[in-house]
Symmetry: D2
Subunit: 343 residues, 4 copies
């Protein structure tokens, strides 16, 4: 039996509709650098899905690329970005934010999230410090939704964080690498228009939600840096064939494909949770999205590792490990069935 | 009649074989970040094509991205890169090299090329200058092949430049955005193994030669920076689905596809030259590759511009303009025929 | 009565011998950029004081400048610097390290110090993490001696930290902004030659120990970056009149002046401690150097603040504050007497 | 006979009044980081000398430091700075501007100066270029006054350049490393208030005009970057003992000292020119300031080089060299007499 794969949500290719559209449009001669008709169409559909007619949309190739360009183009040189100490930019982007000149200011996480109150205190304490002119100014709050732990902010939590950011005049930026899975969770009250209303910038992740690559970056109109295309170019992030991202997102935002395939990840994740619960596994924490975190006894972990793929998350204790099982847009019900037979 | 397109070599999608392979492999669960079997296979094929078993190969998404990562990872902070004043990094990369900390040291071009002798003089003069410790040290020579002007270095010229670089202990790096078109030119004596032997690093361009995106960066083994994958990540250039580039280059380097489709660009360019010559157009300079540069009278230029696409290159005089006609892997003989009927 | 000053150790000018020597040598025509005879003489005296004949010595103007140049010139782009979370570079350098591209990797402090064991664990855990290629590599340990809390490493502690660094092949760098006060503490077994033997780079602070400005940066010979003068220039840190720093350090290292004036700060600090103890003040922690940290009741703190200068350190609780009293090379016994009469 | 020194204007110490004031104020306990009363007083005097009550003044330590901080804090990431190809930032600052992310856009010089018309053309051509979004935007014009060649802009030339900058909405920044020598030239119609009126930022050089170190940076109020002190800190350029620069500039701007000592350099330069002319030397170009450039026959040059110090400027031809003789605030009439006896 072939090993079944739950390591991550970026191990299969693209949704077949995307490949079909790439093929159908392949011989058309299109304008370069993102000026093509499909990119334009995709932007228009995304604005509509965000219920925000004047949002500015740009397509980039990956999450770290998007994060570093947004953060370094919005912040002043003396500003840093506040993030959960478990945030992707805090740990797993190889120091890309610092490499581009800005400190990540870590805030203690709670299930991967930051809290409005802590954010408020951090900023107040900063300005209360007599030496703050010798320190890094807070210029932005970075949140991921879903978080790296698979958890979600409630609408109330997002509203509170947004209000704190506006009170202190700092940006709120959301990393939506897995945004589809957050929006289609059975336990969320947050919609895409909510996000567009509450954040200054965010991205709708494609790479982990059915595209070969690509993230759709959305700016509140008044926030977008001038000459942003030149900024993208300067970071080596401007694709000559912008059609690649344009066609992918145009397809994802046609007939709600993005949401439909995201729902598949949630449905299979719920099946997965059911199986794990039935089998008596302990969850490291509750996750309402496509990533599930389970505490495995080390010997057992090794014993199943050639039949099923999962990923190491962190050491739990000397005998146990937290591992991640992730579903995706392409996970099949039968994959979960097979897993059930293995565990 | 539909407008025919000679604006550039990046206006159509990918070679159909690439789309076919992406589709065939789409549902396979593959390792991420470039560890997949197709990336590995592509690297092996490229090493073979370079006749260099221990070359290190990495896949990146675009030319500017590749240039800035190579240059900033190989140079010391106090070093700059010597390039023709017409070089892509000198002018058309939005200051990406400087944004990453390094000065581009311009050398006067001759038909888009630098000369070994000028390079040697530049470096000798630098070290002879009593104040050179207050100046930017030359650390690398950057050449493009074909150049931005469509011209090519001869093997002798490359050997001379390489010898100067080795004499002065600086790197030689080749930007091969259109390398296929250079290798398949009817007027070249330079082969891929020659390039691998004479350069410290170079890239084999995919974006302009039949891929949707992607460049294959090749390092002489001893030259490759340590932890290069982390460096790529830090620049936001690491694709989670490395398969995208891997499969494209695996396809391009199977059954000589890269060379066969490059030859098509050359064949149609030769047809194009013939047409232009017949019609009595003046060439701005001789180009043995897929880009042809012609001097058009301004009124005439406007009169044909809704029937044929070409690109503005530079003002020639008050009444004339240099324009570029580019063929590509996807140009058809009938496109040139149509052009003939328009001119 | 004039307000007496214990706010910091950089509120008076320079030791009078320094001003005298600047005046005596003023009309001499000297080579620029650090090539003058006084800089050379100072370097030689510092090498001797370090008992390290082949150390490389450079003079810079301030602590943050020295830290950022050392760190950014020694680290690879993918490396960060491990420091106590209370370290100067972690908090009070306005993000200078990140602005120059490198993450400060914080380690929990114990009285301002890092521990060899924690350092070892941090590095081991890093390499044990399956995802470490997506993270910032530890490339250096930064310690301050005395620390920001006025505390000191023992020789054993330094040896252990040095051994861990060498085991893992990372640099050990010491910020010696107040090094004289550490070396002359009554409770230290660490000498300047010990430091030169155990660290890869460190600086001997001038600004806080009797100079108008200036820090003497010392490199182990094999560690010093090539073309370091050009690197200094590139950071805007090369003084045309290098004599300013050269003469200051030449004076400080003549007849043990640096050590003698450092001893004055320690002697007056011991008097100060005695006074504070007698008066029943609670120390926030023990400090064997020139900075003393006391917990004051807020009302009382306000009541004395127009008669004596001290500096806010941190909030202790709603009614108490930790404040710092600092002596220096120029503190007089009578200043402490006056303080006694005020408290 | 002792060798006489005309190599540069930074080989002697400080004007004696400066050393006297440093000594007189030495034991005063002063606020740090530039908040001391002498810095405040100096700023007020400089505002008055500039006839600009709301100018913002900051003290930095050297020219390259000032240039890189001004340029990198005023420009957007996608902007570069236009400068003469002979400009200090173009050649002799070790790539400091590029190291901080910005391209220096070279304009052909005429006797070290740029011309308003060329500047206008450059900017117009930039925006006319269809590909300009892939290029570095012009964001500032940098001029030095006096230039590196010792030449000066006329008031008319400055007004024209300023008008072009304002028309195109880019900054005008003047490097005044030798500003005093420009203002006291016998052939200038430019005053300090003119400069303050026409430039957005400029600095009044101290290092080369009688100070041990230090440059006074002046911003038009509306132009000054927010939190500029933090920006200075972040570049390692904030002196703890800001008094060092404050007292120097307070002294230089008391009783017109800056102008009086600058006049000495001009007076001795005029004597020097007379001597050179009498002796029949050929000038490489006319200079109305303290630097004089003479073409020497190589054999002759060597023959006098152990009796008089001058500096190599550039090769003239195989048998001749352009050398620089520089006077300064401290040059004595008798130094010129001695030179006369040697030549």
């Amino acid at each position: 039996m072939q090993k079944i794969s739950f390591e991550s949500d970026y191990r299969t290719g693209a949704h077949p509709d995307i490949l079909r559209r790439l093929t159908e449009t392949n011989s058309e001669s299109l304008d370069a650098y993102g000026s093509d008709i499909y990119s334009e169409s995709a932007k228009q559909k995304i604005r509509k899905a965000c219920d925000c007619d004047d949002a500015e949309v740009y397509f980039l190739s990956g999450g770290t690329q998007t994060n570093l360009i947004v953060i370094s183009s919005l912040l002043k040189s003396y500003e840093g970005v506040i993030a959960a100490d478990t945030g992707h930019i805090s740990i797993h982007e190889a120091g890309a934010i610092e490499h581009h000149g800005h400190k990540v200011l870590p805030l203690e996480h709670h299930d991967g999230k930051i809290e409005a109150e802590s954010l408020d205190s951090y900023i107040k304490d900063f300005y209360a410090d007599e030496n703050h002119e010798h320190m890094v100014f807070p210029g932005m709050a970075y949140i991921s939704h879903p978080t790296e732990n698979g958890t979600l902010y409630s609408k109330k939590e997002l509203e509170d964080i947004s209000a704190i950011c506006r009170k202190h005049n700092i940006y709120l930026y959301m990393d939506g690498a897995r945004l589809g899975y957050g929006l289609m969770s059975r336990q969320t009250d947050v919609t895409l228009p909510d996000i567009a209303r509450l954040c200054d910038a965010f991205y709708i992740g494609g790479t982990k939600v059915g595209a070969l690559c690509g993230e759709a970056l959305v700016f509140r109109k008044s926030v977008m840096p001038k000459h942003f295309m030149t900024i993208i170019k300067q970071h080596g992030a401007l694709l000559a064939k912008g059609r690649l991202n344009g066609i992918q997102f145009d397809t994802l935002f046609t007939d709600n494909l993005y949401f439909r395939i995201s729902k598949n990840a949630i449905d299979t994740a719920e099946m997965l949770k059911e199986v794990l619960r039935e089998k008596g596994f302990r969850f490291a924490w509750e996750s309402p999205t496509n990533q599930q975190f389970v505490i495995l006894e080390n010997e057992y972990m090794k014993s199943i590792s050639d039949k099923v793929g999962f990923s190491f998350w962190e050491k739990y204790d000397d005998n146990h490990t937290v591992v991640r099982f992730a579903t995706s847009w392409s996970t099949k019900a039968e994959d979960v069935e097979k897993l059930k037979s293995i565990l």
